[in-house]
């Protein structure tokens, strides 16, 4: 079995406002193996981005905090790491790319200087060597005329090019883990495919493990080995991409898959899950999805379902599958 690079256990990250604590990430568990691409899927506001920022140690300190759980990178506990150690890990061991490539680059510095900064932060090399390495990285991510590009500014580049620069910057120090937070959302569809291809190549060539955070199931199907579906701060289902797409168990996952438009069948109306993602912290007990779930019964509103893992590694957090006694479940189905 391949080694686990990253292991997240019962991660809890909260934001604090005058009204009280808002749990954005509420007990998340997952792991990432060497060379694997894991997708984390969910609607906006479900805690995907906060999960990734927690791993990076970049949760905004003014009002946010990792309040519990553990994040282990090659066995090393990151939630207890010093600020200095986290700086060594960020960029060098775990790197991240973001949703808005244009605004993620500093507008007043050249592409080259920003790339070289990433390189020289973790490697003691001269400016000339760093410049050479920067050009090399730009070539690696498929950017033409890299030697001119390093003298240009972000505003002179397109969104797709900026995202390639961001990827070059992220992989420049050969990180073991690359976290991509909706890297293609802000880009044109054709550019999206190119960026996904690029990430797949980097995964194969550099053996970088990737966490792909997205709300787009198409991206998951295209790129990922395994997928975790997140809803309102919790992971509700997890399994290999094939299993999740072919035999989804959680009503939320089923809803997500149904809401993908299919070009082969013309429908009058696209399926959508009724209601909205609840505001974090508003659900005090029961399954977080209960109020939007077609199959919800009494227990769902009272108790939080546990994650149940079947033999093939397919895990689901739903009373319809597992823990509860079959008869109770059947009775409720009949009643409703």
């Amino acid at each position: 079995m391949t080694r686990k690079v990253l292991e997240v256990k019962d991660l809890r990250t909260s934001f604090f406002s005058p009204e009280g604590e808002i749990p954005a990430v509420d007990g998340v568990n997952f792991h990432l193996s060497e060379g694997e691409i894991l997708g984390i899927v969910g609607e906006s506001g479900c805690g995907k981005s906060v999960t990734s920022l927690s791993i990076m140690g970049l949760v905004p300190t003014e009002n946010g905090k990792v309040v519990g759980g553990s994040i282990r990178f090659h066995g090393e506990e990151l939630t207890k790491a010093t600020a200095k150690r986290m700086r060594q890990i960020r960029g060098k061991e775990i790197a991240m790319i973001y949703q808005e490539p244009m605004s993620s680059l500093n507008p007043v510095f050249t592409i080259g200087s920003q790339l070289m900064e990433a390189i020289r932060t973790h490697n003691k090399i001269s400016r000339e060597e760093a410049a050479k390495k920067a050009i090399e990285m730009l070539n690696l991510v498929g950017l033409p005329r890299a030697d001119e590009l390093i003298h240009e500014y972000p505003h002179q580049l397109s969104g797709g090019m900026c995202q390639r620069v961001m990827i070059a910057m992220a992989v420049a120090c050969g990180p073991k883990v690359l976290i991509a937070d909706e890297p293609t959302t802000a880009l044109d569809v054709t550019i999206q495919a190119q960026i996904l291809d690029l990430m797949k190549n980097l995964n194969q060539e550099l053996n970088t493990s990737i966490i792909m955070i997205t709300h787009d199931l198409g991206v998951v199907a295209e790129l990922c080995d395994r997928v975790a579906v997140m809803y309102a701060g919790k992971i509700v289902e997890e399994g290999s991409v094939d299993v999740i797409f072919q035999q989804p168990k959680h009503p939320y996952t089923i809803g997500l898959i149904q809401s993908i438009p299919d070009i082969r069948f013309k429908k009058d109306r696209l399926y959508s899950i009724p209601g909205y993602v609840p505001k974090p912290g508003t659900i005090k007990k029961g399954c977080h999805f209960a109020q939007r779930c077609e199959h919800a019964f009494d227990v769902c509103k009272e108790e939080t379902p546990k994650m149940v893992v079947s033999l093939d590694g397919h895990a689901v957090r739903c009373f319809l599958h597992g823990t509860l006694k079959e008869e109770k479940h059947d009775r409720n189905i009949i009643k409703s």
Binding site: R87, R90, K92, E117
Partner: protein
């Protein structure tokens, strides 16, 4: 480069406008300078002769062209009160006002940037609140009072400071600094209060942007994140404020010059106005306009230096 050319053209056009307006204002202004010069007893013939001498009998546009020509030759006419060239009078006082402006700007920059960063990093904490209230106080206290307090408590206690009069740089460098530092501080104090808020807000606004997260994500130290990435972007709006401060001080700080008995531009202006010394007033107005326009031009150039988006926009 077109940006610089455009800004320069703007500078020229502004100067032309200002010179026309200044000229017209002095045409319309009540009170005949010639009669003021000659006193109430002068007869018509004397008045006419002097008008001819000063070129005031010629049509308006000729007078204006004469003014512009003189301006470029450094000849702004003679002062009525001092009977000396206006240019000489201004030039004499320029080093004082200029030194005052530069020293107070340096004080403002040295204080507000670290203070703004400090305050922004402690947003909504007590220290931030305290600093903001304290600087409010700095804005509210009138300069003459600050000046007097400084003279009383610092100037009188330490030999180094001169509390009145000016020691030229050529005579003694320490003496010059000693005579200028307290007035510069007096000028700087309310300016610190104003620009501190600009710096704080600019830093605060910038540090919430995405590129800051990227910088942190690279693993660089917090000092680099703030002083390199955030500060460089925050300086773009802040430079405007510093430019305004500099222009304001160079244009003359009448009250402070009066309190510290410094013979600067501001005091010259007061004297000139009270004696209806029109050539001097006109000269100073043009000088102030020139200074403001040139500083704005420099600020525009600084924008381009700081922000490649401005520099490279063709």
């Amino acid at each position: 480069m077109t940006y610089v050319v455009r800004r320069f053209l703007l500078l020229v056009v502004t100067l032309i406008f200002i010179s026309v307006i200044t000229f017209l204002v002095f045409q319309i202004l009540p009170g005949d300078p010639v009669r003021t010069m000659l006193g109430p007893d002068a007869d018509e013939a004397q008045v006419e002769t002097l008008k001819q001498q000063l070129g005031l009998d010629q049509p308006g546009h000729v007078q204006y062209l004469h003014l512009v020509e003189g301006f470029f030759q450094g000849d702004m006419g003679d002062s009525i009160r001092f009977s000396r060239p206006v240019t000489g009078l201004i030039m004499e006082r320029l080093p004082i006002t200029l030194s005052l402006a530069v020293i107070s700007l340096i004080i403002v920059i040295l204080v507000t940037i670290p203070l703004g960063i400090f305050s922004a990093k402690r947003e909504k904490k007590w220290s931030d609140f305290f600093l903001s209230s304290f600087t409010q106080l700095g804005m509210a206290v009138p300069t003459f009072f600050v000046g007097m307090v400084l003279i009383l408590f610092i100037g009188m206690s330490f030999q180094f400071f001169t509390t009145g009069g000016y020691v030229p740089w050529s005579e003694s460098i320490t003496g010059a600094i000693g005579s200028l530092i307290l007035p510069a501080l007096t000028i700087a104090l309310p300016q610190i209060a104003i620009s501190f808020r600009y710096v704080r807000n600019a830093i605060l606004e910038q540090s919430k942007l995405d590129y800051v997260r990227t910088a942190r994500g690279k693993g660089v130290s917090e000092a680099i994140v703030i002083y390199k990435h955030v500060l460089r972007n925050s300086l773009i709006p802040v430079v405007t404020v510093f430019g305004l401060i500099l222009a304001e001080v160079i244009a003359g700080t009448i009250v402070v010059e009066q309190v510290f008995s410094l013979p600067g531009i501001g005091r010259l202006l007061i004297t000139a106005v009270s004696y209806r010394d029109f050539p001097v007033v006109q000269g100073i107005v043009l000088y102030i306009a020139l200074v403001v326009v040139v500083i704005n031009f420099i600020v525009d150039i600084l924008y381009a230096v700081l922000d490649p988006r401005i520099r490279l926009k063709s």
